[in-house]
Structure formats: C-alpha cells, structure tokens
Symmetry: D2
Subunit: 348 residues, 4 copies
C-alpha cells in the first residue's frame, strides 16, 4: 500500500470543519490523520465519524506530528494567522477557511512564507469550486459575452450574528472571491455604507461598491436582517447578461442573449427620447456540474500538493480578497469614502 499524497490534520471541528474533514477523507490519495478542537464533545463526534483518527485539543501537537504533511484550518478568522504560520513554518501545506486572515499584513506574510518555502497555501473560497461559478467564469470570458458592464449581487438572509466580524467579512467575502476568480480585470477601490441596528453588535447590513479602472462597476448588498433569503447575482455584458440564483434548485445560471444596439434615429412617437434598440434573443440555462464544491476543492488541493502547482485560490487570491474586505471596513468606518486598493491588487 502506497503512502497517500496528503496526510492531513484538520484544526477546528465546529460548523465547517466536519465538511472539510469528510471531503478530505473521501478524496483519493488523501488521508485524515488527526483532528483537533478545543471541545471534547466535538472530538468524540470526530472519532465516531472517522474511526482511527487521532484527536487532540492541542494544535501544536498536530503540527509537530511528522506523519502529517498538510493542515486544514477551520477556526475563527482571528486565529488563522497564528495557526497557518505555525503550520507553514513546520513545513506543512495549508488549506485555510475563508478569509485567509484578519488583516492585510497577516495575509501578506502567509503568502510570502508559503512562497519562500514552496508550500501549497490554498484558501477555501468555496464558491469558486461550484459548477455554477466555474461556468460563469467561462461565460464571462467568452467573446460572445461582450464587454463586462457590471456585477450586482444580493446576499441577504435572517442570519446568526457573529460578534467578532461584521456582515461584510461573513457574507461579502463570497462575492469578492467570486469576482476575483470569474471577472476579468482587477478592482482599484472599494466604498461601503452600512449600519449597526443592535447594541454592541457589528454592522448587520452593508452596501459595497467596487470600482475598476474601466467602466465596470460592482455592487454587493449583504444583510443579516432580511425577511427572506436572497442569493441573486446579475452579471451584465454588452452582448449577454447572466442571472445567477443560487437558491434555484436546478437552473442556477441563466444566460440572456440580449445585446444592446445604439440607434440614433428619432422616432415621431418618442420625440424626446433617444432610442436604444434591444436585440432580445433566447435565454438558456446551461447544465452545471453538481459535484459538491468542497469535493472538487479537496481534489484540487491534493493535486497541487502532488504536482507542486499553485491552487486557483492561492495565497495571492486570499490576499486580494482580504485587501478588499479591509478596504470595505475602512470605508464603512469613514462614512463611505472610496478606499483605494494597494499594489497587491495590481501586481497579480
């Protein structure tokens, strides 16, 4: 029997960790060796689900374990830096839940450390691995789409408040990682308005505007206090428009073949209007790969470790998303002033 390519330790077995552990365990050439958490009750659950796995309340023990060559981190964002840095320093590959870190400086240091040590640093930008978002990237970058005009997303629900991060870090991170992956071009600035409605709580509603060097505009509405759950994104090009509704059970991505043709003719019926003619065509909903995103992601992680390649959601992508989150939070604090994005955005 050959040794698996990835012999993983999973730190954090609360809400998301079990999904990470299960998908790593079910990926060929990958074995889950150890699971760590601070609560014994969770570790007991982990042992039942992963017979033979070693469990521990001390993450240092896991990082010191020579059998382990990769660490998956599914803990609160404030701990990401310390855990990931320790793992990299110990020579382990790292898969870390989104967002990569709580500050831009921390994210940059993790990226640099992984590059220096030639280790895989992958961020769990889960949506990037869905069939829907992979199809959207393909569509948007096809010449049939025309020029990109805007990205508009509404991601709202009646959700659990988190006391350590505001709604931007909880929900907008998904849109920012989708944009980073699927759209051509890099943003140059972010502005955000928002509000705290409950005492001693972070912002529960926020509106982000993301600026690009071109005529592209992106906007995201995130909200923990909405009466209905909405996950709707419109991506508009000069020749096609996409509606991505993640709540649709079967047709999540719809493509509208509606190009715009400018038509300067004055019509007697619309004396005071300039006519813009619309070429309205078919709509189609392409078939999507329905494999669980985390399964695709786990396989990609194993492949990157095996071949020494960079993941699609590598440390640079993680840093760019943290930069946008950080800029958004600073804009929010300043009353909505657009905050420019640093050179990391433009370097990649």
């Amino acid at each position: 029997m050959t040794t698996p390519v990835v012999r993983a330790g999973v730190i954090g077995y609360g809400y998301w960790g079990p999904n990470v552990a299960r998908n790593l365990a079910e990926t060929p050439a990958c074995e889950v060796v150890a699971i760590g958490d601070l609560m014994e009750e969770r570790l007991s659950l982990a042992r039942r689900r992963h017979p033979g796995v070693k469990t521990t309340m001390d993450w240092r023990e896991m990082i010191a374990d020579p059998r382990i060559n990769a660490v998956a981190i599914a803990t609160p964002v404030s701990t990401h830096f310390e855990l990931a840095m320790a793992a990299l320093t110990a020579g382990k590959h790292v898969l870390v839940e989104k967002p990569l870190a709580a500050t831009v400086a921390h994210a940059r240091r993790l990226l640099e450390e992984s590059e220096r040590r030639r280790l895989v640093l992958m961020v769990d930008h889960t949506f990037v691995f869905t069939g829907a978002v992979r199809k959207i990237r393909e569509l948007v970058n096809d010449p049939a789409f025309g020029d990109l005009y805007y990205y508009d997303s509404v991601r709202v629900n009646l959700g659990l408040f988190q006391h350590d991060v505001n709604v931007i870090w909880d929900l907008a991170v998904h849109d920012l990682s989708i944009m980073d992956y699927a759209l051509p071009g890099r943003p140059v600035a972010v502005a955000a308005f928002g509000m705290r409605h409950l005492p001693d709580q972070p912002e529960n509603i926020a509106y982000l505007t993301v600026f690009f060097p071109t005529r592209v505009i992106a906007h995201v509405h995130v909200n923990w206090l909405a009466p209905v759950k909405v996950r709707q994104t419109m991506i508009c090009g000069s020749r096609q428009m996409i509606v991505y509704d993640d709540r649709e059970p079967s047709e999540k991505v719809k493509v509208y073949d509606r190009g715009i043709t400018v038509n300067g003719v004055e019509s007697p019926e619309h004396l005071y209007r300039l006519l813009v003619g619309y070429r309205i065509g078919d709509m189609w909903a392409p078939r999507l790969d329905t494999t669980e995103a985390l399964r695709v992601e786990a396989a990609h992680f194993v492949e990157c470790v095996e071949r020494g390649t960079r993941p699609v959601t590598d440390g640079s992508a993680g840093l760019r998303v943290v930069e946008m989150l950080d800029a958004a939070s600073r804009s929010l604090a300043s009353g909505g002033r657009p905050v420019p994005l640093g050179e990391e955005q433009n370097r990649a």
Copy 2:
C-alpha cells in the same frame, strides 16, 4: 346640470397623458375640457377618445381659456416649470407629472407660487396612491412594526434610455416618493454611485444610499440594463419586516412577524458567537385595494380643489423629492460623496 368642480386642460398626450386624461374624465365632478400636444396625430387620437374635447397645439391658448380652472401637465420634465408656473400665474390649479421640476429652485418657486395664490399644486407621485403603498404606510407606522431599520429597493429592467435624464430621475423618483410618503422621519443626506455604459448617454445604473438622523438607512438600486425586471422592496423594523414585490400578481405585500431578541448567553455550541435569538412567527399578505392608482389620485385632486385642502403629494412633497434627486445627481458627479439635504427637508 351643475358645473363640474374641476374643468381640466391636459398638456401632453404622449405616453402618460392619455392615462391622466382618461382618469380625470372618468372622475365625478371633473370634466376634461381641452387637451394639448405638439403632434397633430396625438390630438386626433385624443379627439376620438374624448369626443367634444377641444384640442390645441398651443398651450398658452389653454391657459388663457377661462372655462378651464385646472391644468394637468404630462410633458418632459424640462418643461414642467414653465408650464406649471404659467398655469398658476393664470390662477389655475395644477397637477404635474413626477418629478415636480428639473431643479430645486424651480420646484421651490412653484411651491411658493401655489401657496401665495392658495391654489392646489399636486405632484403625480403615482405609487403613493396604490393600495400596496398606502397599506405599507399604515403598517410601518403601527407600533407592532417596531423601530424602522432600513428600506431597501431594487427597481431594475431592460428599459428605454432617456437622453434628457439619467436612470435616477426616471426610476429612483418612485422610491424617493414612496419613502417620503410612507416612512417616518426625514432624510438628511444622499450618496450615489453609478455608471454610463453607452457613449453619449446618461447613467444607466445607479446605487443610492439615503441617510437619516437616526439609525435608519435606505438604499435604492436602479438600472436600465438588467436582464430581468425586478421591483422588490424590503422594509425592516425591529418587530416586523415587509417584502413589497410589485410584480406579484396578487400578494404584493407580505408581512413577516420576525422580531429580533438579543440574547447574550454564550452557548457551548457557538463559543465564538454571540447568539441573537429570532422570534419567527407567521407571514401574512393583507388584502389590498386594487383600484387603479391614477383613479384614486384624480379623485383626491378634485377633492382638494373642492375643499381647498392640501394634497398628500403636495408641492412640499414634490420639492423634497426633487431635492433628493438633485442631491443624488450631485453625489454621482462627485464620485459618491454624501450630499446633505437642505432645510426644506427638515421644515416639513
């Protein structure tokens, strides 16, 4: 046979004017005496639909007509001031299509003129007269709603571009007039981001944020280049939440009885989260009056003329909405800087 209370002249018989004329004509105590337009073809249509009506291409003739005591204006916004001022000066009551005027100064002068002459000046903020919006005002101002938290509206479609005004003046005017009518409190500032995607055209997409002196926040997304038509508004209070979907054929207004209770207990299951408990209750869709809004509006205009009372959508409301539109346009031009609203907002 008694003389009707309102003997109206209608100026403008293009897209909206026929609706105004038809509803005035079908309102008791109101007669349409004359219809004016610059195109003979439209006047011919007007004569067929309103046998006996006098038609003219010269609005001055209509304003000079002593039989007419009220003028309804359904022309491009750039002409509203000149026409309405002439009508008021000639001692006529005025009903003017939204928005009241193209500038704040013009709107204020119309308001002052109507007050000085004790004439009715009413703005056609149509949505205010729908059963849905009247019900929303009732709900939001009921103690059962709790404190208002936010108003969020998406009003997008694939629409005809107008070359004289941007998408804010065309579409956001509806939300601003709904907010002015239905929400408690007056806004203090407006910020707007947007983009022009077609050469030599005004902004076709815009995001408005409206600020209040309290923790209330309002936001409106308007867009002429959307693949699907959306008319969805969420209005959230501390004890109830409303979803208003104008495209729903029968249940346009839904009320969710979902109050929020802050609950500081740390749970072992969510060590790093502060729990916010949600009281989830029933949803109900109240029965709405389905009378055509313009019919209700025409009857209200006649009643105001008869009794000498101020309309719900009077010149002050019209001025407040124009102030917000103007502030939004200035913010748009300045890259999104919040623009404070003047004293008119706070005087009312």
Copy 3:
C-alpha cells in the same frame, strides 16, 4: 381608394367583442362596418371607439347589409349556430368565438355549409395564434423532440361562474384547441370527472383525460375555485420536455434537453431497482413572437378571405374541439366512463 378585402360586421360587444372589433379595425385591408349588440350602452361605447361605424340591435339587419362580406360572432355559445348559419346562408365569411357551436350536430352543419358555399369559416381558437403555442408546435414536431409521451395542463383560477356552460366548455376548450393544433395524432376517446360545489351551478372543477391510439396520454385540470391562478402545461417527449407557463412574463416556454436512456445494469447500490439513466442537458427558453394573438388571427382571417384558403383554425378544427367537449361532458355525466370520439376525429 380601394375597397377593403374584409368589410366586417361584429355581433356581440360584451367582454370579447371589443377586442375582436379593435383588432379587425387595425388590420390592413379590413374595415369594421357595423357592430351589433342587444344593449344600447354597449353600442354607444362602440360608436365612441369606432367613429363612423353603424350600430344596430338587430343582427338580421347586419346580415342583410350588402356592404358587409364577413361577420365576426362574439356572443354566448348557445347563439353561435343560429347567427353563423344565417351569415353563411347570406354568403358572408364567418369568424366565430370559441367554441364553434354548442353541439356536434350544429358544428358539423356549419362546417358543411361553409364548404358547400366555399366561404371562410374560422374559429377564434385564440391560443393557437400566440407566439408560445406556435413555437410549441414547431418544437413538438421536430425530430429532436423524440416521441410524444404526454400533454398535461393545469388551467385553474378563482373565476366567474357561467350559468350556461360548465368549466370544461369555458377553460378546457383552450387546451383542446392547443392540442388539436400542436400535437401530432388525433385522440380517440375522452374521459372526465368533475364536481358541482354550488347549488344550481354547472361543474366548477373537472379533470379530463384524453386518449390516443398510441402511448400518448393527455390530461387537463380545469377549475373555477382555485386560490391561485395557474396556467402550466408540461409536454413530454422521449428526448425533450417542454414547460409552458403562460403566467411567466418573459420566458413562457422552456425546453429541457433531458432524454431518457434505459439502462438495464443492476447496480450493487440499488439491488432491487432497475436503473433508468437520465441524460440531463441544458434548458433553453426560445424567443417568442409577442404580437397580440388576436392581431395575428385577424390578419390570417383577412388573408384566407383574400386567397380563398382554409384557416389554420377552420371549421374542421372547430368541429373536432366541439366533439371533444361534447364527449367530455357526456363522460362527466356518466361518472367518468371514457367516451369514444367519432369519425370526424379520424377523417381529418
């Protein structure tokens, strides 16, 4: 000025007649010469809308008018036979609202009279002239659709009761005419169950099953007492499936590329199941012609009169639909026994 091809008299100016008159009047080479109704109030409305039209309360006068060469009938179904027969006998072409007549014998006599006199007899099966149904016919008859398996339709709402006909004659007539036009093959029998829930009223709910000589089955649920309005039809072939939802504002027709492949392999995971493999592909919503159906229909009527050709919805189609309605009513009365369709069905 040349004489119009069609110089029409319209009998019946209640609910549907005004639509017929308006569309005939707006069709080139067609003129509405006279309008008849039993109520003076309606005739007065007709005169306002059609200046110069002759109005009458005596339909015999219209049929005797030599200027008129075609009669459109929009009266209750019980009067169709007498009016249409009189018009044909007087040498007029006839357009009659659906259904063609109240009995099979009457429908057959009208068909025979029109054939003997070489006059156009067209039935107003309105849906046949919609962009949606014309596209469906095209799709279903394309080899890509595969073999037809079933037609299933739900056509329910909270509707006005009619005291002279049951819900089948009011609503199922639409589906029967769509099936007659769009599906390959002719049905051989009809069964119907239903119920009367209000005293002294006809059946307000009914379920029709329509049998074909092949493995095709069709089913229609019609209902005047439904809490929500539903207009949904599924048409399934061996290689494609269509969903036609007439309440969808823009994508009324959706095509699912979901073929079925029988796969006899026993899988260990499903020991007691025979696997049927599904080839799931894209969905697409073709662009539809959005011209008003009655406009297309009026133009088709004029064309048939001009060229002496048979309309798509000719007397034979009208007879076949009446036969099915009649069979359904007889089945209903007999407790659901399938009633065979006569030779008229198979002759065409």
Copy 4:
C-alpha cells in the same frame, strides 16, 4: 441506568433505513440494538455510524434476539408482510415503512395480528408527522374552513424508476396517507388512468381520482417523467383555501381567506351570467414546526409502546392506504373504471 422503553432492531439499511436508525438512536428512551441488511458494505457503514450496534445479514437472528422488543422495517414493499408478521409473532412491536404491505389481504392480516397480540403496529407515513401536514389537518377541521370541496395534488419529478412497483405505489402513497390523516370523511371509490412509456417498465405517469360519499373530490397526479419537480397541493373549502407547496423553503402552507357567496342578482353587464360573488380576504402563512418528521415519528412510536396506545398512523391507517393503492392499480388495469373501496374504509 434504566432499560430503554424501545430496544429496536432495524431491518434494511439502504436508502431509508439509515434515516430510521439515526432518528430512533437519537430519541430518548430508545436504543438501536441491531441493524440488518443483505449487503456487508451497508452493515459496515452502519457499524461506523452506530458504534456498538450488532449487525447481521439474517433477519431471523434479529427477531429471535430477546433483547429486542421492537423492529423497524425499511425493505422493499414485497418483503414487508413476511418480516412484519414474523416480528409480531415473536412479540415485537413493529414500525414499517410505507406502504404497510403489497396486498390488502396482507395488510389486514398484519393489523389483526397486532390487535390480537396488543402490539404496536405503526406505518411510516412520514408526511403525517411534518409540521405542514399537522397544521393542514388543524386548518381543515376548523369551522373557519367551511365545507371541504376538493383536494388536488401534483407530485411529479424526473425520478428513478422502480421495477417492482408503479408510480402510484411510489408517489401517490404520500397523498393518500395525507388525505387519510388530514381530511374529514372516508373515500368510497378510486379511479386511475396512467401510461407506461418505457418497455418492460411499470406505469410512470398516473392520474388518480378519489370519490367520497359527499361532494368532495380528490385528485392526484404522479409522474416519474416530469421536467421539473412539483409538490403542490390545493385544498379548498367553502370559506378558506389552502395551498401547500412542499418545495417552498419557508412558507410551505398558505391560507387564503376567499369565501364564495352565491349572489343571484342579474347584472346588466353580464346578462347571461349568474354572478357568484367572491369575498377576497387576506392570505397568511402560519409558522410551522420544522422538526424533522422522522424525529417526531420516532418519539411517537416510543410513546405508543410505553403507554400501550395506538399510533396516529396505525395498522388501520396502513390498511386503508393499501386498499386505496390496490383499488387504484385495479382501476388502472381496467382502463379507469372507478373501483369501490371495501368496508375497511368505512369501519374506522
């Protein structure tokens, strides 16, 4: 430590068995002692999920085990009778997956055996234990609902074919058990039409009509070859109407306050119509218990064993549902003839 009330053996660990085992294991006063299946792979999965459970490929061994006092059966329907009869004969309480048995005679014998031995015989009519269906029962039996008029259900999807039973036994069983539980009155006959579209396969589409001694009518459309998944039920009373859409994520049950009032006045506008006036009121969606149905069901089973009471879905309910399934299949085979239901229906 006290002995649990229920010490269960679970037979069948394929698709549904794991859910049964998990819910029994998580119910207080209930222990899962043994799990049986014919496939070692499944038993190995069972051991991982239920550490300490005894697994076996021989169900006789389980039934002979004196520690076990209750048996849950989740195997193909053709085996239900033999397994359940053996368990009852051995003095065990029985919980059996729906439908109770493959024939009426078998169902009746199981009922009799359980009554003779005073053992609990419960059928897993899962929907009966959902918050939605329990609420519907409450609503329908409230005087505010008025008289029941009809039950209409559409339960269609693109589903796996089963080679041992037709679509009625697979899908309509849900509606028949919901009707048995929630509606007042017992049906007297069933008619069914259907079709087989694939060679050597059972019927994949069927339409059931269920007759009652009153004016109530019920109808169910079940279909394995539908392009979209639909789970929509309308239940109409003389004063309220219910729409139950199981695919709605949050508002599954909507109640429309739309009573019907017969109004005999002839109106001049509708000379040939009898007016039926509709009292259109509010719609409301009551809050539903969202506990997993199988959890509620497992607790109910334990309670019945403990107290010696009859379950809501007892052997009689199971027999009544099998009788309806059997009558539907016989009607299907006879071309749709209504098949009367036996005295069991009326005895309860």
